[in-house]
């Protein structure tokens, strides 16, 4: 019977109005979840990655460290790489087989993050091989990452005409300055709490926005 369920509804008993409404409501939610990009998921992933990753980097730094020194960079790298992979898989799954102008904008925006951070990584690795102190290299990574995240949030705000996302972008750029002023290892704390917190606020905002819709 299950196999025949949707085979040819024209031969089936006519739908009652309440059965029809049940189909509409169940299918609408099920399909929407699979085809609609939820920005809260993306911001949530990055909130966790930054909070845990840079939080561990902070806890593993210096002589009074709380966790083993090797654990900090290892956890940070693992969470950031995982966040990239999960973000890509999520976007690919939602957008698979669906096209349209707004999907093109969203895909180009996604690639802006990928290309921006690929280029930032290349520049920072080259600079790190110059005569920079390890503290300066650490601050370079913190500030440039926060600055790029901020600029990309400004761009996201511009694309979707969303002042909250724009404001989070401004906040991230302020944090970039804050990270440099804080010095090592305070910069890790700025990234974990202010940077990760920025992503978390954005995620909560997107959740609230969808509830209202």
């Amino acid at each position: 019977m299950k196999l025949n369920r949707f085979v040819d509804s024209d031969n089936e008993e006519p739908l009652t109005a309440d059965a029809s409404l049940a189909v509409i409501e169940a299918e609408r939610d099920r399909v929407a979840k699979r085809v609609t990009f939820n920005p809260a998921v993306m911001s949530g992933i990055w909130a966790v990655a930054w909070f845990v990753g840079f939080g561990c980097a902070y806890l593993a730094y210096g002589s009074d460290r709380v966790i083993p020194a090797w654990l900090g960079p290892t956890v940070a790298a693992t969470f950031l790489v995982a966040a990239v992979v999960v973000s890509m898989l999520y976007a690919a799954r939602i957008n698979s087989g669906i096209s349209g102008p707004s999907r093109t904008s969203a895909a180009m925006y996604g690639w802006s993050w990928m290309l921006g951070f690929a280029c930032l990584t290349a520049v920072n690795i080259v600079l790190a091989n110059r005569d920079l102190s390890s503290a300066t290299i650490t601050l370079l990574w913190s500030a440039s990452s926060l600055l790029l995240v901020g600029v990309l949030q400004l761009a996201g705000g511009a694309i979707w005409r969303d002042w909250t996302q724009f404001a989070i972008g401004v906040w991230m750029m302020i944090c970039a300055t804050g990270a440099v002023l804080a010095g090592v290892p305070g910069n890790f704390l700025v990234q974990a709490l202010a940077g990760g917190g920025g992503f978390a606020v954005l995620a909560l905002y997107f959740v609230a926005q969808r509830r209202r819709a």
């Binding site: 089936e12 085809v35 096209s99 349209g100 102008p101």
Partner: protein, 108 residues
């Protein structure tokens, strides 16, 4: 209201093109996309968990009613079938949903 009574009152007023479980599901899925978005046939088939033959039959009926537009094109030399709701399809679907709701008592 008994089922029989409901059927007697419900069926004649509802758009017969949409008022069949499989086509209703197709319409709901297409309406979940943005107005300017289109979906490939395989992704739609996967979203609805229907067989290709079955989905084709229902899409043809929706296309005949001009509720759905089907475009056969090529992407990197691979043939692709794109499906989208037409403006009149979206209007018909909204009207159908309104009609179904009007047949049911207000939720308490």
């Amino acid at each position: 209201m008994t089922d029989e009574k409901m059927r007697a009152t419900a069926v004649p007023e509802l758009d017969p093109v949409i008022h069949a479980q499989a086509r209703l599901r197709v319409m709901v899925a297409l309406a979940a996309l943005g107005a300017d978005e289109q979906v490939t046939f395989p992704r739609l088939r996967q979203l609805l968990d229907m067989t290709a033959g079955n989905l084709s039959i229902h899409l043809r009926k929706l296309e005949e009613a001009e509720y759905v537009e089907i475009v056969k094109t090529h992407q990197r030399r691979t043939p692709v079938t794109l499906v989208m709701l037409t403006a009149s399809g979206r209007v018909a679907f909204d009207r159908y949903v309104t009609a179904v709701r009007s047949l049911l008592p207000e939720p308490t």
